[in-house]
Symmetry: C2
Subunit: 274 residues, 2 copies
């Protein structure tokens, strides 16, 4: 918390913090595997980008944040963990103007995703567009509110759409694979995920065509495969979007191939310590 190490159950924010009173905050979340914070530069770059866009000054440089993280990792000694770096609007005297931000870094144990492709998930679409979608704010009001409805629909997650154009899931990016083996993913009105970047990178390296473009429900209907990607899950095949059902993935699926490439990519990151 700011400049101090605090036991997790003692870590608290003043009730007049703008993060509490006005939902004004940004964060990033990264996975630690074998003690290595994965793709940390991408996560920190996005964290500083979010902070800048929300006009929240970060007192620490990127190098200083990395040192704080190292010290935290040493104290906690959790080889597999999730790390949340949170920056709020601070203790605002009038409850409205941004003050000196509060920085909170939380490390918690995290079960790593399986080294085999997970079972396919079911998505339901919902008409919603996140405000400030390109910034990783703490605004998950709609996502948390929709949880009971998602369960009621017997689905695993929601895919936001606006007038028939899909954008993203609350905590992951959405991709389809077309009939001619091209990976497509929305380009606009989304948060650009670190895993999304890795997907585009490894696909391009392997000569798989990738397109960042607007995707409609009708595009999903004629797609051959669909998957979601996030830092905690790598990629998960999508078995169903509303009434659109996909065939199960096989060893030859683009999704399977991508998963293997991401796993290999991650192992390289761990072995080189980056």
């Amino acid at each position: 918390m700011n400049d101090r190490f605090v036991a997790a159950d003692k870590a608290a924010l003043p009730v007049n913090d703008l993060g509490v009173q006005r939902g004004y905050g940004i964060f990033d979340f990264l996975r630690v595997s074998n003690g290595i914070p994965l793709f940390i530069d991408d996560h920190l770059d996005r964290f500083y980008h979010s902070a800048r866009e929300m006009r929240l000054p970060v007192r620490q440089t990127k190098g200083e944040l990395k040192e704080i993280l190292s010290a935290l990792f040493q104290k906690n000694n959790l080889p597999d963990a999730g790390v949340r770096i949170l920056l709020t609007g601070g203790n605002s005297p009038d409850g409205y103007q941004v003050s000196a931000p509060n920085l909170v870094i939380i490390q918690q144990p995290l079960i790593p995703p399986s080294s085999h492709l997970s079972q396919a998930c079911k998505l339901v679409t919902y008409q919603h567009q996140r405000q400030m979608p390109h910034i990783k704010t703490t605004d998950y009001l709609m996502a948390v509110w929709l949880q009971p409805w998602i369960k009621e629909m017997d689905a695993d997650d929601v895919l936001y759409q606006q007038n028939g154009m899909v954008s993203e899931c609350p905590r992951s990016n959405f991709f389809i694979v077309t009939g001619n083996h091209t990976i497509q993913t929305p380009a606009r009105n989304i948060l650009k995920g670190v895993t999304r970047k890795q997907v585009l990178k490894v696909a391009a390296e392997q000569g798989i065509r990738v397109e960042e473009k607007d995707i409609s429900i009708e595009d999903i209907r004629v797609a051959k495969e669909a998957f979601i990607g996030s830092s905690t899950k790598r990629i998960i095949p999508v078995g169903q979007v509303d009434d659109i059902v996909f065939e199960p993935v096989s060893a030859n699926s683009v999704t399977t191939r991508l998963f293997d490439l991401l796993l290999q990519n991650e192992r390289e990151a761990i072995s080189t310590g980056v």
Copy 2:
């Protein structure tokens, strides 16, 4: 805080509270004048409505909350104050599912609004629609973010609009007075303010025509008067919306008349202790 009285500078929420991590919370804010919490039933009714809509159970009944408020008022002894009643998603183990909510009630000194109509304010419109507008959530991400821009525009506040139809200011409702002395205020996509309700009530009692309907920028352009209303400000005349300038209010303005009626209404509330 929940069941305890805590010194304001010691009041803090755990960092894993959903209000902090996911911006998931609701609140209400009311004014205390001469020791009387003004229109408390309206505020508490809205508070319970917001809680219900966001699926946040309140452990206390309305009567119990009133008793807690009385005890807090006695401890603080602030005849003129603002009271914020905040309910968050609680200490969520997974940082995503609603848990047992945390209730925080904060009383702070508040300079009461003048008993004379304030100087006219300047509004600038901005294309935005609040998510879940009928619920008083803690989502003020856009409003706080726009503060520097509002100052840059030399304005006092922002008026949200969507495709030319205006809705509300972040913390107040918007009204116009037409050429035939009818008060109009948006009916949809807004938070229905307690002062808005009082305005409609006192106007109707005095035979002033009121209409709740969609209002466009063009409606504002041909309006004779405009004003905003909120619990902390009662009503304030609007002198300008973007490039639309209104004539200064006079003793004969509907805005002036309404202000006097609201003041009288408030004095009655204080004298009857409701």
